[in-house]
Amino acid sequence: MNALLRTPLYDLHQALGARMVGFAGYAMPVQFAGVMAEHRHCRAAAALFDVSHMGQVILGGRGAAQALEALVPVDVAGLAPGRQRYGFFTNDAGGIEDDLMIANRGDHLLLVVNAARKASDLALLEGAMAGVEAVTDRALLALQGPGAAAALAALVPGAAAMRFMDVAVLDWDGAALWVSRSGYTGEDGYEISVPEDRAVDLAEALLARPGVLPAGLGARDSLRLEAGLCLYGQDIDEATTPVEAGLAWAIQKVRRRGGAREGGFPGAARILAELAEGPARRRVGLLPEGRAPMRAGVPLFASEDAAEPAGAITSGTYGPTLDRPVAMGYLPLAQSTPGTTVWGELRGKRLPLRVAPLPFHQPRYRT
């Protein structure tokens, strides 16, 4: 196995007492004080996450928006300067190659992609357009929670006026911060790209603000699950379509049937048909009725004695905010209505779960 890569915050994590794990080839903090405490602190105050393992990519070529629209079923050309939008690369079968954030920064686009998909995303982009540049000299921090705005605005006053999914370049002590008001926790907050040689300074300055504590990948996962957000490789992958995954909201009208730029992305035939006619299965929220968490891979059955599984759990854990186990998974349309009882097979026993609306935790974005 290759040695794990380190982010610019590696030594700081060690100094803060993090437990480190390998994730997508990087040594990352999984927890500091503990997953439960970090999760609850993020919902109550503010948590600082290192997400420098994620890929940052600049698309600077002429016509980058049009070229990107050939890879994603998203309205990129209509994305206003200073705004960001969620999207996904699709494949010819209509599956998802990766999910990403797309920001219009005036004279270029900035993408943020998943760590594990960086290399394949870059190859895909470079095959489709000129002017693709991987950003390799910047760290990425996420400051999340109801206290995030006050903490960041104390350092960078311009952050306060930003709204959900705004992006801006803000100066902090001579460093250009690429800030977006967004995140992966279901809370208000920011994602901040910072030059790598200033990353520790910025992290320490944020951690010095009242109410800001470090948090690791463990809390990031339970927070995003409660917020109903997908994890690539678990809840969405090459074999799930955006419509099955409940992500049709991210496909704007202009790319749908009858839109001015209808189709023109990989897998358009299947995805547009599913948008019109409905998918055969859907991603759903699931609430196990007992206290035992049911995790990714647990097969789901339509009845207690059904012979064949109807679907499977793709993410599951204990939800600290809800104080109960929570999960997501895929079920045929017939079983996907909230309130339906299905059965998960855990350690040889069939245990009931209730299909529930997503998200479990209502997001508190500053829209």
């Binding site: 997953v35 405490a37 999760h39 995790r295 854990t317 204990y318």
Partner: protein, 119 residues
């Protein structure tokens, strides 16, 4: 008190042993949210999976440290699995078992040996 390489502690209580996990193990597992305990009056063999501990992050098995019969389980863990984090070596015990041959306890580590084992 005796200790196993699977990070269980065994406390001798008359003809029974009380079994739980060590402070070190509880710390490594993190926040425990669910414990599945065995049925009392079950015969178990050394190495059988008798409990499942679920933390926020993952599920782990607890193995029977010895052959014997499960006589009692800790009723407090059903409502408050966090007891295992708060007081792993006392209030957070898992089960008691009647063992066939108390002499086999000699094979386990004492506290000093266990401390060396985890260091």
């Amino acid at each position: 008190m005796k200790f196993t390489e699977e990070h269980e502690w065994l406390r001798i209580e008359g003809e029974q042993i009380v079994v739980g996990i060590t402070e070190y193990a509880a710390e490594q597992l993190g926040d425990i949210v669910f414990v599945e305990l065995p049925e009392p009056e079950t015969q178990v063999a050394k190495g059988d999976e008798v409990c499942v501990i679920e933390s926020v992050k993952a599920a782990s098995d607890i193995l029977a440290p010895l052959d014997g019969e499960i006589t009692e389980i800790n009723p407090a863990l059903a409502d408050n699995p966090a007891l295992v984090n708060e007081d792993p070596q006392r209030e957070g015990w898992f089960f008691k078992m009647q063992i066939d041959d108390p002499a086999v306890l000699d094979a386990f580590m004492d506290e000093d040996e266990y401390k060396e084992f985890i260091s």
